[in-house]
Symmetry: C2
Amino acid sequence: MKNTQVILARRPVGVPKPEHFELRETDVPALQEGQCLIHTSHWSVDPAMRGWANDVPNYSPPVALGDPMRSFAVGEVIASRHPDYAEGDVVEGLLGWQTHVVTDGANIGHKVTETDLPRSYALGIMGLNGTTAYFGLRETCAAKAGDTVVVSTAAGAVGSAVGQIAKVMGCRTVGIAGGAEKTRQCLAEFGYDAAIDYKSEDVATAIAAACPDGVDCYFDNTCGPITDAVMTKLAQGARITICGTAAITEWDPLPIGPRVHRQLLVARARMQGFLIFDYMDRLHEARDALAGWLRAGKITVREHILDGPGAAPGAIEMLYKGENTGKLIIKVG
Amino acid sequence: MKNTQVILARRPVGVPKPEHFELRETDVPALQEGQCLIHTSHWSVDPAMRGWANDVPNYSPPVALGDPMRSFAVGEVIASRHPDYAEGDVVEGLLGWQTHVVTDGANIGHKVTETDLPRSYALGIMGLNGTTAYFGLRETCAAKAGDTVVVSTAAGAVGSAVGQIAKVMGCRTVGIAGGAEKTRQCLAEFGYDAAIDYKSEDVATAIAAACPDGVDCYFDNTCGPITDAVMTKLAQGARITICGTAAITEWDPLPIGPRVHRQLLVARARMQGFLIFDYMDRLHEARDALAGWLRAGKITVREHILDGPGAAPGAIEMLYKGENTGKLIIKVG
């Protein structure tokens, strides 16, 4: 049996591009006692993968050259000598960009039990993206009913979940996205109360108009000029979740921008970095809530599905160019 | 009876200097029912007074031209037709730079009951400075035993209290101050485990040496290059209290500096603005603890006392130049 892998062949600086990856076929090794074999069906494409591919200090060690690209993936157990996993189990985890994975279970996140939902959801709304939205909004942003919640990359996989969870919680939601089609999605599909197109509008002016009482919560995936504009309109006691920094491609040397200290001081506001890996023991709590909202039709999911391993090398670049129109997934099974 | 006032005569931009103030004598009005007359003995000089004197958006409205400069002060009730205040009571509050205050009580903070301690302490360690240190360290910084706590303006009225409270709480303390005399004070008087002279040392290098496991808590009164250096050494889960921004004199337009977002994200750190006015209903809690530590000799206080109202106009500039060697107070009584 053959395992098709997409390996990191060359070290990128910044956004990984097709030339940094190669496809490779290897033999699937025989199962040992305590192992199981997973046949992956969907690979994830996430902003964090830029950091994983670069050789810079980060919250995870970089992917080694020659290794399959680190990624979340979902698949089915097709053979098992592992006591916890049986043939037919659907599992999700950091399985990497490869069609077959022999594992002792260490890189399996969890068994997917919500089999009534599309399996790919395990990589998005029921996976990294949805749980990030859930905890980043409820814990770090400490959102509560009545708050005005501003979301950057508002039509993205995380942002669209943040906006919809905030609506369920009784917040007023304002989405910032790039272009007419994404702002249309924000209003028509993701239920935002207002949407701002940062490509055609002055964000500070638009935020002031959309948030007359200021911004209580800002869930930020961008850093950069969008964030600088939102920071000028903080309500007293505002909470800012720094979830991603998509607008900044290089952090060495540190880029400069407006100092935030006085804005935080005057508003007694809080700005905090968020990483879902700090919530791994509570993911079930988020999944239970999200599955309920999905089944009740309270959350809409948009996916952008690429076909086959050959689409993987260009996928991270596509994500950073904002060319995807929904959670970016590579279907391989 | 005459009231000697130091009024704001001209509007400063930035640090108020002697030319912005004038001394004025007025008659003390007759007491009405519900009023009391306070004879002040000590006026406070605090960094926040720069903001109060400037006509820029802030957390308090600016002092009107012609009014006595807003300040904390302490004094004795010398006549009363107010049911809550009796002749002989010692009171502290936003009484302003004036020797006599007729008030209905609205600008009185509290009655000073710790009459065994020097009365001037009501303006420093038992007043704005000590309570700011107490809540900023315990609440916003969420310091706990074993944490490495870094303090900027470490020998100042707030900083020296932060460092000593942190020691009482079982933290490791690292003070940053300017010059050999202040770093000597940090080590010899305020019990810091290490002291860094930002005028003669590279702060990032010195922080790395003094904090081998990173910075858990940073209590910041400066903003600017010192803060930029500390931000490069955050421990995971670090908490930063923004209490003051003494290194930056102008905030319009916003000054630029290194973007902090990635540092906060990688460390899952939190940066939060702190203002003591949000803790006014809990001040007694801080005062009780501080009085206990003072009586037990666990906290050392350094005061720099100027003599008479004529010293007031130059006092804020003196504070911003760092020429004071302890909590700056004007003795008038």
